[in-house]
């Protein structure tokens, strides 16, 4: 590789961000702009008997007030669709504003458009809604029982789907012949994404041309345009332009197509003025799709040597009140398929029941299904180790898929392309000085101090994935990515990428790829993304796919540029094409580098087209639509070292070590940053964060006061390192790096805590592990 790929280059994005010059959606203002605010249901489940908007509409500064009835009467499709179908999936309609019933606290019932924000919110209070409150259900394991309130009349027992993967019979047989069985009941706690920038949109409709421009907080502008067109607004796709300006984090929450952005756009079309809406933080808590929320029973069967024979898992997955965009995929194909972990498990069976409840919809949040799977597997490994009297690292080693067994076909559909699990474990053990640390643990126990060491040897499948495969599994989307590379006559480069960064630093990462492949300097490269009018189709950024799929598309397009340039250069040099080499931005005949044609000279000739090879089209640009042959499979070992104070239940993270293998690294600064952020969110899940509903469906943790987003002093500094096993099937050898931290860390932390409390016989504590739960576990029956 050249001088850029692999280098810790400081980000090209940052000068605008550190000086306050970057423009996020809510920073934009248009002439004559109005503001929208949405009235939300205070009830989790209620019949709407009457809405009276007259007082609000009469207020000074109020332009219009609309209800679901108005949207329906306007004749637009008016719904939010689901983008992933499973067999027999129940897909009850999700209208933009509720009409007959509200189904979760925060469900929208009316919208005000006003001259300014303050007036819009004032007017919300003047809208009168008469509700008939109905009983609610919030827990997925309860919601399926007979006699529970129904979220949707056409989904009996609140079941949206009943899905399974693996071989039930073979798994039952494995359990029948097992020497040891360990089991675990757990709740994987519900999380609120908390991107620091609340969702927002600015909609501008031109009634003369019929064009709608939407600036919005989007991770995937083309998906939003498609769904806006087809399902929500009914405007032709080519008349809608979606632009994601600077976006303040997403973590999944800005993938989904929500009602609110569509409502804002619809309002702009009604009032004939640009309309802006930004969620308050409380609204983001009630409407951003939440993550996780599983109730799971899991069992692992082992032989007398600690070899896993089988794994059996049953999960109730909370989907909330409506099916969010990719909700059905998350607890199924992103969860059940990951249950083999890093291990050669001969029999696996997993059943997942997707359940509607009167809560905010649940969808992908950083990790999406894979943290839940990793938690199940890695907790069971520790329970098994304890039962068999094995060191937790030893039982893992005995079950690792060995390096010579790749490609490895799991029992749950995935084929792992590569891996070297032992190497990552070994490196992590060296970093923490494992042997001495265990001795230290023993010594401290004698003194009445309790430290614990927790491992998570995790696998991840990301960089979604062959489009035909995801299509066969129910995706209503493709999963390839695009790149267009345009070399201008002066040799400067513009790249149009279908990826859509919202904090990840694609401009820098992609520019590094271009700089190396074309031999141009970073200043001469522009990366354009996140605008459906500028960028050819693309599927956006989520599921750790941008380097692996978007970067690969770019690499292929760059190769095409180099090849076309070679034809022109060969013609100019009067040489055979196969004799012309391209190096450091120059074409020359092998052995004659001083007679070179620069890329810039070649580009100029391509545009002048005065002297091109016969039959070659003018100009120098190339486009690639890259459909990956497989997922990528990052893996690694995370180790947490904690101290628990039994008297108070207090937890201190003494060390956190992450050894990740994300293949080749384009920018180590950026990759490390991704790992840090993921670990922080995973530690948040393990120790602090939980979205809690009361039995009436009120979100008790409905603000930043009540929901513990980790602060700086909650967290340690992290020790991150790597092994490098390049991905064998993409041109850059890269794998996803954005979610490893949130996938691996919850299990590492909880395993460490349980290890610390081993002398007290504690076997499991559900997340978030709070001091109170620890105290109860110590003073209770061993399980909390």
């Amino acid at each position: 590789m050249g001088q850029y790929i692999g280098a810790a280059i400081k980000r090209l994005e940052d000068p605008a961000l550190i000086t306050g010059r970057a423009k996020y959606t809510d920073d934009l203002q248009l002439p004559n702009m109005a503001y929208a605010a949405i009235l939300r249901s205070p009830y989790a489940h209620a019949r709407i008997k009457r809405i009276d908007t007259s007082k609000a509409a009469a207020m000074e500064g109020v332009i219009a007030v609309f209800t679901g009835e108005d949207i329906a009467q306007s004749g637009v499709p008016g719904v939010v669709p689901v983008g992933w179908l499973l067999p027999d999936l129940k897909t009850p309609p999700h209208p933009l504003l509720a009409r007959d019933k509200v189904r979760h606290v925060g469900d929208g019932v009316a919208v005000v458009v006003a001259e300014d924000r303050y007036t819009a919110y004032d007017a919300l209070e003047a809208i009168e809604v008469e509700y008939e409150p109905l009983p609610a259900v919030v827990n997925p394991a309860d919601a399926v029982k007979e006699g529970q309130p129904l979220v949707h009349e056409d989904a009996p027992n609140n079941i949206a789907f009943d899905w399974s993967i693996g071989d039930k019979e073979a798994t039952d047989e494995a359990f029948a012949k097992a020497s040891h069985v360990v089991s675990l009941d757990l709740v994987n706690n519900r999380l609120i994404p908390n991107a620091m920038e609340p969702r927002a949109t600015l909609a501008d409709y031109n009634p003369v041309t019929g064009e709608l421009t939407l600036w919005m907080t989007s991770q995937n502008p083309h998906i939003h345009r498609l769904l806006m067109s087809l399902a929500s607004l009914g405007l032709p796709e080519h008349k809608i332009r979606v632009i994601a300006p600077a976006v303040g984090g997403g973590f999944g929450s800005k993938i989904h197509h929500y009602p609110d952005e569509a409502i804002t756009a619809w309002c702009a079309m009604q009032v004939g003025r640009p309309v802006k809406w930004q969620a308050t933080r409380m609204e983001t808590y009630l409407t951003d799709a939440h993550g996780r929320d599983h109730v799971t029973h899991a069992e692992m069967a082992l032989d007398e040597n600690g070899r896993i024979l089988g794994l059996r898992v049953q999960t109730y997955a909370n989907l909330g009140a409506y099916l969010s965009t990719f909700a059905p995929a998350v607890p199924t194909y992103l969860y059940g398929t990951l249950l083999s972990g890093e291990y050669d498990i001969p029999a696996i069976y997993c059943r997942v029941i997707g359940v509607f409840t009167h809560t905010t919809p649940v969808d992908a949040y950083r990790g999406a299904g894979r943290p839940e799977a990793t938690f199940v597997v890695e907790r069971l490994m520790d329970l098994a180790a304890r039962k068999l009297g094995l060191d937790p690292t030893e039982i893992r080693r005995r079950n690792f898929v060995p390096p010579d067994k790749f490609p490895f076909q799991t029992q749950v559909a995935l084929q792992y392309d590569s891996g070297n699990y032992e190497a990552a474990l070994q490196k992590a053990l060296e970093i923490i000085d494992y042997k001495n640390l265990r001795q230290e643990q023993e010594r401290l126990r004698q003194e009445g101090r309790y430290i614990g060491i927790g491992f998570s040897t995790y696998i991840e499948a990301c960089g979604l994935a062959p489009s035909a495969v995801v299509g066969s599994l129910g995706a209503q989307a493709g999963q390839w990515e695009s790149a267009l590379v345009r070399i201008h006559p002066t040799g400067k480069v513009t790249v149009y990428s279908g990826s859509s960064a919202h904090g990840q630093g694609h401009v820098t990462t992609f520019a590094q790829i271009v700089a190396d492949k074309l031999g141009v300097s970073l200043e001469d490269i522009e990366i354009i993304q996140s605008d459906t009018d500028q960028v050819q189709y693309g599927w956006g950024t989520y599921g750790s796919r941008s380097a692996a799929v978007g970067g690969s598309a770019l690499a292929v397009a760059l190769d095409r540029i180099v090849e076309k340039g070679r034809k022109i250069a060969a013609h100019l040099l009067e040489a055979a094409e196969e004799d012309v080499v391209f190096e450091d931005g120059k074409y020359y005949v092998k052995g004659a580098p001083d007679q070179a044609k620069t890329l810039q000279e070649v580009a100029l000739q391509a545009y002048l087209a005065h002297n091109l090879p016969k039959g070659l089209e003018p100009a120098l640009e190339a486009v690639a639509f890259y459909d990956p042959p497989n997922f990528t499979f990052p893996f690694g070992t995370h180790v947490a070292v904690v101290e628990v104070i039994p008297e108070t239940g207090e937890i201190k993270i003494l060390r956190y070590v992450a050894v990740d293998d994300v293949g080749n690294v384009i920018n180590p600064l950026i990759v490390d940053g991704q790992v840090h952020g993921g670990i922080a969110q995973g530690i948040g899940q393990a120790l602090f964060e939980s979205a809690v509903y009361d039995e009436n469906g009120n979100l008790v943790t409905g603000s930043m006061l009540d929901y513990a987003v980790p602060k700086a002093h909650f967290l340690p500094s992290f020790e991150v390192d790597r092994t490098v096993t390049p991905c064998p099937h993409n041109p850059l050898g890269v794998k996803g790096a954005g979610e490893t931290g949130s996938i691996a860390s919850p299990a590492a932390i909880v395993n460490a805590i349980v290890d610390a409390l081993a002398p007290f016989g504690v076997e499991h504590i559900d997340m978030p592990v709070t001091p109170e739960k620890i105290w109860r576990a110590i003073h209770g029956n061993g399980r909390s």
Binding site: G248, R281, G673, G741
Partner: protein, 157 residues
């Protein structure tokens, strides 16, 4: 029932008549168009709206514009002087102390205040000193590094 105010922001004096309930953050963003200051919450938890008022960090979502009458305000737009990045900006950039950048203006100004109080903080002191500012992207690792680095630059400065 507007109230006249006179505020100096980033060295420039502004005079406006504002509603008494207008928050300083909305005055800066919507009236002055200084959108570098962000809004991240409605319970004064996140710190995205942090600015300097008479040299001290305040959350501008907890201050009314009328309370800023007569005050000197520095926002992120006013931190770089004569095209030279402030050492904190430089350190955030070089240490990759930001990802999406949404928390960054507030984080930098909170750190400014912190280093004014304590020019030579420990890692622990930096973490506690930033407790009013949330970042969801970085896990704080590189923010802490950046603040320690900036502290050193400013001491040597």
């Amino acid at each position: 029932m507007g109230v006249p105010i006179r505020v100096e922001v980033n060295g420039r004096v502004y005079e406006h008549t504002v509603e008494p309930r207008l928050l300083l953050v909305h005055y800066l963003r919507d009236v002055l168009g200084l959108t570098g200051t962000k809004v991240g919450c409605d319970t004064s938890q996140c710190g995205a709206c942090t600015v300097l008022m008479n040299g001290l960090a305040v959350k501008s979502c907890t201050v009314l514009a009328v309370q800023a009458d007569g005050a000197q305000i520095t926002t992120i737009e006013g931190l770089a002087k004569d095209g030279e990045l402030h050492p904190l900006q430089q350190a955030f950039w070089e240490n990759h102390g930001l990802q999406c950048g949404y928390c960054t203006p507030g984080m930098i100004l909170a750190a400014y205040d912190l280093l004014q109080e304590n020019p030579n903080p420990t890692e622990e002191e930096v973490r506690h000193g930033l407790e009013g500012n949330l970042c969801r992207c970085t896990g704080y690792h590189n923010i802490v590094k950046a603040v320690l680095d900036a502290a050193q630059r400013m001491r040597e400065g």
